[in-house]
Symmetry: C2
Subunit: 165 residues, 2 copies
């Protein structure tokens, strides 16, 4: 089989690995701006209808992204640890967010095209392909960030534009 160039690989793809990384990091950049938009107190406390404050959703997102991708790339199963102690400090959250951004880029460079259709049981319990797992990470982030938009609006704060990545 001939080795194809990167351009050819992209042209034969619905979405190429590089495009999917850019897509994910674009969403993560938007989520970062939503975190920034919250006053610190409300980030950790504000809630509607008994739902979690956005800080706890962000803790879940951080607990899934890098540990999930590490498992996909390294193959070693770990347990899902959804609760991260931010010490009620939003700058700590943003720091962890930025560290994750870098680590996702590094891990992604180890993820070859041939792996996206492999089956995996993430965190020892979530079965699917590598691609369906990664799309779940992204979709789950969009879902909770959409909820954060309502939190912000209910606090009379204008959220960042959804379409700006």
């Amino acid at each position: 089989m001939e080795k194809t160039t990167t351009t050819q690989q992209t042209m034969d793809q619905v979405i190429s690995p590089a495009q999917l990384l850019e897509h994910w990091q674009g969403h993560r950049g938007l989520t970062r701006r939503v975190i920034e938009a919250f006053p610190e107190k409300e980030f950790f406390n504000h809630s509607i209808g008994g739902m979690r404050p956005f800080s706890e959703m962000v803790s879940e997102l951080l607990a899934i992204a890098v540990p999930g991708l590490r498992e996909i790339v390294g193959g070693k199963t770990t347990e899902l640890e959804e609760k991260i102690d931010f010490g009620n400090d939003k700058s700590k959250v943003l720091q962890l967010w930025d560290e994750s951004t870098e680590e996702i880029n590094q891990l992604w460079s180890q993820l070859g095209l041939e792996h996206f259709q492999e089956y995996i049981k993430l965190f020892g319990q979530y079965e699917g392909t590598v691609q369906s797992s990664i799309f779940y990470f992204i979709d789950n982030e969009i879902h909770h960030r959409g909820q954060a938009y309502v939190y912000l609006r209910s606090l009379n704060i204008e959220p960042p534009f959804f379409y700006e990545r």
Copy 2:
């Protein structure tokens, strides 16, 4: 160039066209259940923080999905018409939703793998590739449906499970 089988095409893809359709329709099925979960009055009226009621968001989703995909497949530019008159009748909404489901399946069968990386200016104004446009349709639906989850919780109604498609 050899003609590849469907299986080979899937194995060489981050996500194949068939998988992306299933992914999208899986999300659309969940959104349908969220529409169903709303009492009719609150579907058309309930709002938080000055945001639109969920009915208007659903109108936007319907206005984007089939018309957008029609434009992608047929190449003919139309204007975005976000306001659909549902006559405050939720069964009308569900009927339009189901008709869109069928039409998306039909249009998708005309969308070859070679088109996903083509550039397009949707509704005469949104520039991007076919893939980035389709992912925008899906992401925008997840985003607004996430907001509907907060609406439902604020009404003391349990939304469907996010991970059930």
